[in-house]
Amino acid sequence: MSSSEVLGGAGAFPHLLQTLARVRTVPLRVYVAVTVVGFFLAAAIAPKWLETHDPLAIDLTASLQAPSIAHWLGTDQSGRDLYSRIVEGAGQSLSIGLGATALSLFLALVLGVTAGLADGAVDTVLSRLFDVLFALPTLFLALLFVAVFGTTVLTEIIAVGLGTAPGYARMIRGQVLTVKSAGYVEAAKALGHPYVRIVRRHILPNAVSPLTAMMTLGVGQAIIWASGLAFLGLGVAPPAPEWGALLNAGRNYVIYAWWLEIMPGLAVVVFALSVTVLGRYLGDRLEGKS
């Protein structure tokens, strides 16, 4: 490095180059993921634009048709168009995914940060609690909740949120502990900054920023969990074409009408895959690894 560079004379140009380079290196899979996620988000917000048929309209003459030009992904027993049903179901599935993840992260944040910041007894009690809850199968809390409070989109969200929270809480606690001992926190302390300010400006943002990526990963997982509940017959009431419900219904026809099981499953997988790819990419970018 030359001394002129130190003085910042050439500062602006390499920076621009860097930015350009970054834009150029966005991998193809990220574009694909963005497209998929965009499609499903659009489906969740305005399903009517994307549907080719009324997702609830029954056409008893078109029962159990294999995928065709008229029905892209085939029809179910009542002749309902599967593609339109998957599109229609995106709303519920995505709100369950997003809602559950948001709830789960919120709970995890409150508890995890409390445990991470608190020393001694509070931390010990909380982290033991996380351990115990963590030891339980993820579905367990969800099952218990749904069993007691019934199955609506809301209870489903809460159930999955509760089920996945302990894991996140553990991670957040660890993250807070890491950040707490980071050099910049000590630097701020050495500058005489009040503790609250350090927590607010340094610890929280840095402990939480890796969660952005986790959040996107979590959405896919939450949808999978929710569809798992539906699979056990604890999903949202029919005729809602929530993906899990579609999967659950399709299972019964899988030998003779494979598309009823494969297609909603693919929707779940493709969506979860896309958010995961996106989440990892964003996570890497946020950590400056790109």
Partner: protein, 562 residues
């Protein structure tokens, strides 16, 4: 040198070596036309700063420049073998057997999960140089003994983290020497080592050379090179800008850059003289306060530590006394150097001075008032009068924050309004020699020197009386180190702050300090005026330390001629 070698007996010939990394030809050409040759028993030093292409050059010689690297050379010949056309299998036969390679930073260059002995024996096993397990063991222990490791039988079974840095580095060299290669390449073999250990490792390499091995030594540290090299290659941005015999290079450098590098080495240079070619001290425009005092030392004591003791419980549950009865005073405008090897308790002392750790016994008074005995809440308001510069500035910056935000954050309670803050931040950048363009950069986008400048700007922002500098330059290239040391000197002169300056590098400490305190095993073994100590060390340990410091040829280590 004892070995007179005919030119045709060259072991290694490199002619017009070019290496570029496929991704980006413009930026990625790491080596541009390097040529040299080397005979057995000779040592070639490749000198240059980070990114100058010296490591890539060395790695080409073992065929490990990286899978993206494209290597071109007019000639690349080792012991009669043309290295350019080798396939991986052929390379593997050469690596380790004919060419040994010692990487820098031994602690991470040894597999942390495997016993040291296994690592050393690996080369023997790979090249099927031993017949039995017993023989392997015997050879490994022999090698460890060869490199001067005590208790070789035990050490061979230990893991790298159980060994000291010096022992690891020796083990690594032992691994490289295992098959008695004709060429040994050592890439920064002594970086991160304490001076005494460094001296031992260099001694080991010298012995190797004396056994008739050819040696390529790669270093940014001219003092190290000065001791070992027969020939020197100075590289900068992938090009050889100067080459010649060591004597010629050190006594009569031709290229300005070589001179600059030489000048940057503080050891043996007059205290307070400029080390870098950076601009002369600029006048403060307005740092809120005109420089009341010149650099003159006053008698006012700003910091007083009395009988500090700190104990830590180790992972094994044993309580260790890390700092044991350290007392000192720091006067206004004075620089107190704190020297010692790793583990001597320097940093813990610094943390107690900063009240980041509290002493188990003793106390620190700041500006004559209680400091370590206060509660953190009481201390908070007064923290602004003492600040710190770390060795690793990167980790001390919130990675998400821009330079501008980092600096304005450090002004908390000082500059209240936004324009005020902006003005102060701009001024701070100016003071540390950074352009306003850096305001929007994030720490990761800065070079090491730039980061350290930002760290200094942050440290001076609250207008402290005392700045604790904990190894502020030890991670920097020598010329950047020179710039930072100059900057620290300039700031002291202009702001009238006092430094508690901690370093393991005696040259650096000597260059900057008014007084020096030598620590060992948590105790101060010697303290006094810098020149007195360096001229006439009283304690054996200080003498050992000084003796271990490598010095540039042509400069007298002890004397001051200017």
């Amino acid at each position: 040198m004892l070995h007179l070698v005919q030119p045709e007996a060259q072991l290694l010939t490199v002619d017009s070596l070019r290496v570029c990394f496929a991704r980006n030809v413009a930026e990625g050409t790491a080596v541009r036309g390097v040529s040299f040759s080397l005979a057995p028993g000779r040592c070639l030093a490749i000198v240059g700063e980070s990114g100058s292409g010296k490591s890539v050059t060395a790695r080409v010689l073992v065929g490990l420049a990286g899978h993206r690297a494209r290597v071109h050379a007019r000639r690349l010949n080792f012991a009669g073998t043309d290295l350019t056309g080798l396939d991986d299998r052929a390379w593997r036969r050469i690596r380790g057997k004919d060419i040994g390679f010692v990487l820098q930073d031994a602690l991470v260059s040894l597999d942390p999960l495997r016993p040291v002995g296994k690592e050393i024996g690996e080369g023997l096993r790979l090249h099927r140089a031993i017949a039995s397990r017993e023989e392997l063991e015997r050879q490994v222990i022999g090698l460890l003994k060869l490199v001067g490791v005590q208790d070789a039988e035990i050490k061979a079974l230990q893991l790298p983290h159980q060994l000291s840095g010096g022992q690891c580095q020796r083990a690594l060299i032992a691994a490289a020497l295992a098959l008695d290669p004709r060429l040994l390449i050592a890439d920064e073999p002594t970086t991160a080592l304490d001076v005494t250990v460094q001296a031992q490792v260099l001694g080991l390499l010298e012995e190797t050379k004396a056994r008739g091995k050819a040696l390529i030594l790669i270093s940014h540290d001219l003092a190290v090179v000065s001791r070992m090299a027969d020939e020197v290659l100075v590289m900068r941005q992938g090009e050889v800008i100067e080459r010649g015999s060591a004597d010629q290079i050190f006594r009569d450098p031709q290229h300005a850059y070589t001179r600059q590098l030489l000048d940057a080495v503080p050891s043996g240079r007059p205290r307070g003289s400029r080390l870098s070619s950076s601009p002369a001290p600029r006048l403060l425009r307005q740092h809120g306060r005109p420089p009341e005092q010149s650099a003159a030392r006053s008698s006012q004591i700003v910091l007083k530590a009395t009988d500090l003791v700190k104990r830590f419980r180790g992972p094994d549950g044993i309580l260790r006394t890390v700092v044991n009865g350290v007392s000192f005073e720091l006067r206004s405008g004075e620089t107190l150097g704190l020297v010692g090897e790793s583990g001597s308790g320097k940093s813990t002392t610094a943390r107690m001075v900063l009240a980041l750790d509290l002493p188990d016994q003793g106390a620190v008074l700041l500006q004559g008032k209680a400091w370590t005995t206060l509660t953190e809440r009481q201390r908070r308001a007064r923290r602004r009068s003492i600040s710190v510069i770390y060795q690793d500035p990167l980790s001390s910056f919130d990675p998400r924050w821009t330079v501008g935000r980092i600096l304005s954050d450090s002004l908390l309670g000082d500059a209240e309004t936004r324009p005020e803050r902006q003005e102060r931040v701009a001024e701070l950048l100016y003071l540390v020699g950074l352009s306003p363009a850096f305001l929007n950069r994030r720490p990761l986008e800065l070079s090491g020197g730039q980061r350290q400048r930002v760290a200094i700007a942050r440290a001076i922002a609250p207008r402290p009386k005392v700045i604790v500098c904990d190894e502020p330059v030890s991670a920097l290239d020598v010329s950047i180190q020179a710039q930072i040391l100059d900057l620290l000197g300039d700031l002291k002169a202009q702001l009238g702050v006092s430094y508690l300056f901690i370093s393991h590098d005696l040259g650096v400490v000597r260059h900057l300090s008014d007084r020096v305190m030598v620590m060992r095993d948590g105790r101060v073994v010697e303290s006094g005026d810098t020149e007195a100590i360096f001229a006439e060390p009283q304690h054996d340990y200080t003498r050992d330390l000084l003796a271990a410091v490598p010095t540039l040829r042509g400069r007298q280590p002890q004397a001051h001629r200017d």
